[in-house]
């Protein structure tokens, strides 16, 4: 992302190079139940962050607090330089929320709805950030160009979801929230959606925070992954870094003289070197597989949801900041 001119910072109301999201000791309590027990994290401009965690870990609560839809119990939160509890309409215009829609605006026509919702952003258009995105352009971007005249209620589940995404980005947001965006997508729609997310992040410099249950998706999209378990962030890092930190062990498979072998080790390189240098029949079909994000995730959630004595987190070295 290129740095904006200094004058623009003042005009846009927040420091474009500072963190887009800043969370310090965020706590949430419903009645006597602590759902969030002190979250700390930062999101920088242009980053794509995935929030992972089992159901009930507090993902939705966290996102809703950041969106300004839910009041927190304690802690400091700043989104686009503003406390979401006091965000005004201009602040609202700078972010997009992709909702898990259900059946709203069912009688409206797709193009008309998108155009109507886009008009809300017109007063916040600036030369550097023209708003809203043209309806035709946007429909083409999400692959609904031929559906403009159709009623929203007649769209299929996947088409409907893409319309949700289009509505989320119609105001060309700086920050985009995506809550399980590809639930119910077929593989092709999923692939197209991933391309769209990459384009938003790379071309428009949009900062994106998304939740998903699809670990492959998280690995593919995210610059950084936050794992939320039992109300705490138990891991914060790239998919690679997380995999290295946790499961640690690498699996090596090979074939020699028609026989399959499997070996697990902490350090694959010397083992493979030795293996290939051994005299005897040649090694074929060599396969080195590091722990996947899924292994990492399962391991982290297991450690935190069970077997943490006294509810005190045992930080993973170098993973929790």
């Amino acid at each position: 992302m290129t740095a904006a001119a200094p004058g623009l910072h003042v005009q846009d109301g927040f420091d474009a190079d500072g963190p887009v999201i800043e969370v310090r000791d965020l706590r949430m309590r419903y009645g006597t139940v602590d759902v969030l027990k002190g979250l700390n994290f930062e999101v920088r401009p242009g980053e794509v962050i995935t929030l992972l965690g089992p159901n009930g870990a507090g993902k939705s609560t966290t996102i809703e607090i950041l969106e300004g839809f839910r009041a927190r119990s304690a802690g400091e939160v700043s989104v686009l330089g503003v406390d979401p509890a006091h965000g005004d309409e201009r602040w609202r215009s700078d972010m997009g929320v992709v909702l898990q829609s259900w059946r709203d605006h069912a009688t409206w026509r797709v193009g008309k709805l998108l155009q109507h919702l886009g008009e809300f952003y017109a007063p916040y258009s600036t030369p550097s950030r023209r708003r809203p995105i043209d309806t035709g352009e946007l429909l083409a971007l999400v692959g609904l160009a031929d559906k403009a005249e159709q009623r929203v209620g007649t769209l299929s589940g996947g088409q409907r979801r893409r319309l949700d995404v289009a509505i989320g980005i119609v105001g060309r947001p700086r920050l985009l929230f995506l809550d399980e965006p590809t639930a119910g997508f077929d593989p092709q729609a999923r692939r197209e959606f991933h391309d769209l997310v990459h384009r938003l992040a790379d071309v428009d410099g949009t900062t994106i925070l998304l939740t998903t249950h699809d670990l492959a998706e998280a690995e593919k999209l995210a610059d950084r992954i936050l794992i939320l378990a039992a109300g705490r962030i138990v891991a914060d890092g790239s998919a690679d870094a997380l995999a290295r930190q946790v499961a640690g062990r690498t699996e090596i498979r090979w074939t020699r003289a028609g026989e399959r072998f499997v070996h697990s080790t902490d350090d694959a390189t010397p083992f493979v070197r030795d293996l290939l240098n051994e005299p005897g029949p040649a090694v074929t079909e060599l396969e080195v597989r590091r722990a996947s994000l899924e292994d990492t995730y399962m391991e982290m959630v297991r450690r935190y949801e069970h077997g943490v004595p006294g509810d005190e987190p045992v930080p993973f070295e170098g993973v929790v900041r």
Binding site: S60, E67, R92, L99, D104, H116, L117, F120
Partner: protein
């Protein structure tokens, strides 16, 4: 002042009205809903009302128009409640100035609903069916317009109040319909209210419906028809006062309740209601 959110609300209401009425269900509803009162008028076209010198149909027309306006309460409450359930409210909440435009849109679509229905009954009625409506006087048109507007002002905020409190749109559809019809019955829209018990008369005179009906009858009927009213006189200033009071109270309370309701709106709230509905069906 920035008028854009207001304009967006008006356009939103207009689009919502057109998209709803151009669906098959919307069309059927509009036709049936207005065919019933027209049929009743036709059946009682020339039947004289004993003692007053107007046709029975002429005495019914103001009550029908009142009832149509009063259904605005139910319409707007239903819209609000069901659009909270289906996520529309959350969608607009995520837009800058969305909630304001949304409420303006709701008022617009509900007013259009009521006004189009009023026209669909009123125009054929005065042209072909009901004799003796004083359409040649300016006072009639001024009075009609005034009471329609005042009626909507009193009814729509009341509907917003109900819609923001009652969670289930199906309750509003069912109980709302029966309740409005019952109240219309007790408020003398179908026959003079003094035929009912005294305490009922006291209660309905606190509510806006009786007074809207009273005002409408005053607009449509000759002076001597006052004999059929409670007390035997026209009480126009009281009617304007009570309706104005209801409009005022609801306009003050409405935004407070709406804000409270909107504050609680979030993705998980919509999702839990969705689960609830899916279990029910």
């Amino acid at each position: 002042m920035n008028l854009l959110p207001f304009r967006l609300g008006l356009r939103r209401g207009l689009t919502a009205f057109i998209t709803t009425t151009t669906t098959r269900e919307g069309m059927v509803q509009l036709v049936i809903f207005n065919a019933v009162p027209l049929a009743v008028l036709i059946l009682n076209r020339d039947e004289p009302l004993p003692g007053v010198g107007v046709a029975l149909s002429a005495s019914m027309l103001p009550g029908m128009l009142t009832l149509i306006t009063a259904f605005g309460v139910q319409v707007i409450a239903y819209y609000l409640s069901s659009e909270r359930e289906d996520g529309t409210l959350l969608r607009v909440k995520a837009m800058p100035n969305g909630m304001f435009a949304y409420v303006v849109g709701l008022a617009t679509v509900s007013s259009l609903d009521a006004l189009v229905s009023v026209l669909l009954v009123f125009v054929p009625a005065i042209l072909f069916i009901v004799p003796g409506v004083p359409i040649a006087t300016a006072g009639f048109w001024l009075g009609l317009l005034g009471f329609l507007l005042l009626g909507l002002l009193a009814c729509l905020p009341l509907g917003l109040l109900i819609g923001s409190v009652v969670r289930n749109p199906r309750t509003i559809g069912g109980v709302g319909f029966v309740g409005t019809m019952g109240l219309a019955f007790l408020s003398g829209l179908f026959f003079p209210a003094q035929a009912l018990w005294g305490w009922v008369q006291v209660v309905v005179q606190v509510l806006p419906l009786y007074w809207l009906g009273h005002g409408m009858r005053w607009v449509f009927l000759p002076t001597e028809a006052a004999a059929l009213e409670i007390g035997g006189v026209w009480r126009i200033w009281e009617a304007v006062g009570v309706l104005g009071l209801w409009a005022g109270v609801a306009l003050v309370l409405g935004p407070v309740l709406l804000r409270r309701m909107a504050r609680r709106e979030s993705g998980s709230a919509v999702e839990s209601r969705r689960q609830h509905v899916l279990q029910r069906t």
